[in-house]
Amino acid sequence: MIRKKEAKKIVFQSEKEMPMMPMSLGSMLYNKTGAWRNIRPVVDLENCIQCGICWKFCPDMSIFIENEFPYVNYDYCKGCGICAEECPVKCIAMVEEEK
């Protein structure tokens, strides 16, 4: 769902191109907050019970549900670890990010 959406880059050539009042011209989806991450959540789909709790507690809207299973959108996940902590069957592991 969210993965398919992209936002355009906004460039102002001069101040004349700027709107007269502060208003939004694009979506914050352009801001890939995944770069903040130190640890990444990895979902073990075999043990997943499809409860949706990880989706509910994700502050970055980076867990999306497809066919009732959760998938992580690593473009935006900041690696807070709430999903791993709250998962009732502990099927989400936080793994060190590799450079």
Partner: protein
């Protein structure tokens, strides 16, 4: 029919990913649930604060709905004006009579408890039909952690730091939900991100209420409360178990407590994981722990008494 979590996952987000809030922040969790509680289009006014600053970094926005930025003090007046305009246009026939729009204002505890209180009180008194959501993280987190009137007793903040001569804030917190309930509004409630169904039901009731409604939601804040970001929801649950943040609603003057812990836990459990209360566990500050426990017990007992007549 009771709502299921699976149904909520199918609704499109009104606050999208890419916002710049801290990792483990409680604000998006709250609004994820609240914004799904109505099917009608929403117009929101946002007071300055964490939510406003992080979601609208010029020239972009993270909102998938109509959203107005207002100054720190007047989110409630802004949305009151929009609502009055809507009523007027409806009378003139420029908006179809069957078109329903929901109005919502949101602000942090600084913009609601302190700076925006008189605008909120005025808008509520005039009876505009809107929902005010306050996300209460007990501190001015956006500007670096200054104390607000929602900061609890004993907490250390940058303008009342704990040290050799001080044990944190010496005043208790203001009870805003009761202040709003005293305006005799149709609906006022206190909620927590740890109980999503309760939060959803309260948001639904607030949107359906005929007149102003007020929601005060506790918001976990890893940056200013200084705890491990993954522990956020656990901490919110601890606050409920220790009765630090009671869940209750006031519907037409009647108090109802929505969550009573089976066993009331000592307030110590809630204080211990948080860095802002670390100084309380040093030598010589034990009196403050007792004072906090006493304060919490007093408030909880008062609330139980207030509920009693309604249940009979």
């Amino acid at each position: 029919m009771a709502v299921r979590l699976k149904d909520l996952t199918k609704i499109e987000d009104k606050l999208v990913a890419g916002h710049g809030m801290c990792l483990g922040c409680g604000i998006p969790l709250i609004f994820k649930v609240i914004l799904r509680a109505t099917e009608d289009p929403i117009i929101a006014a946002n007071a300055t604060g964490c939510l406003e600053v992080c979601t609208t970094i010029y020239p972009r926005t993270a909102w998938n709905m109509n959203w107005i930025h207002s100054a720190f003090e007047n989110a409630a007046s802004t949305i009151a004006g929009v609502e009055a305009m809507y009523k007027s246009l409806k009378k003139k026939g420029q908006i179809p009579a069957d078109k329903k729009i929901k109005f919502m204002a949101m602000g942090g505890d600084g913009g609601t408890y302190d700076i925006g209180l008189q605008a909120l009180s005025g808008a509520v008194e005039r009876g505009h039909n809107f929902v005010y959501v306050c996300y209460d993280n007990n501190v001015y987190a956006n500007t670096g952690g200054q104390r607000s009137s929602a900061t609890p007793l004993g907490a250390s903040a940058t303008t009342d730091p704990a040290g050799a001569k001080s044990a944190g804030k010496i005043q208790g917190r203001k009870d805003l939900t009761k202040i709003m309930a005293a305006h005799n509004i149709p609906y006022a409630a206190q909620a927590s991100p740890a109980r999503w169904l309760d939060l959803y039901n309260k948001a639904e009731k607030a949107f359906k209420a005929d007149g102003p409604a007020f929601l005060n939601v506790m918001c976990i804040c890893p940056t200013e409360w200084k705890y491990e970001s993954s522990m956020g929801i656990r901490l919110a649950q601890m606050a409920l178990d220790a009765c630090v943040w009671p869940l209750y609603e006031v519907e037409k003057g009647k108090y109802k407590i929505n969550f009573k812990p089976k066993e009331k836990k000592p307030v110590l459990e809630w204080l211990k994981p948080q860095g802002r209360f670390r100084h309380l566990f040093k030598e010589g500050n034990a009196w403050m722990l007792e004072a906090i426990q006493k304060d919490v017990d007093k408030e909880w007992d008062e609330l139980l008494k207030m509920e009693a007549p309604a249940s009979k």
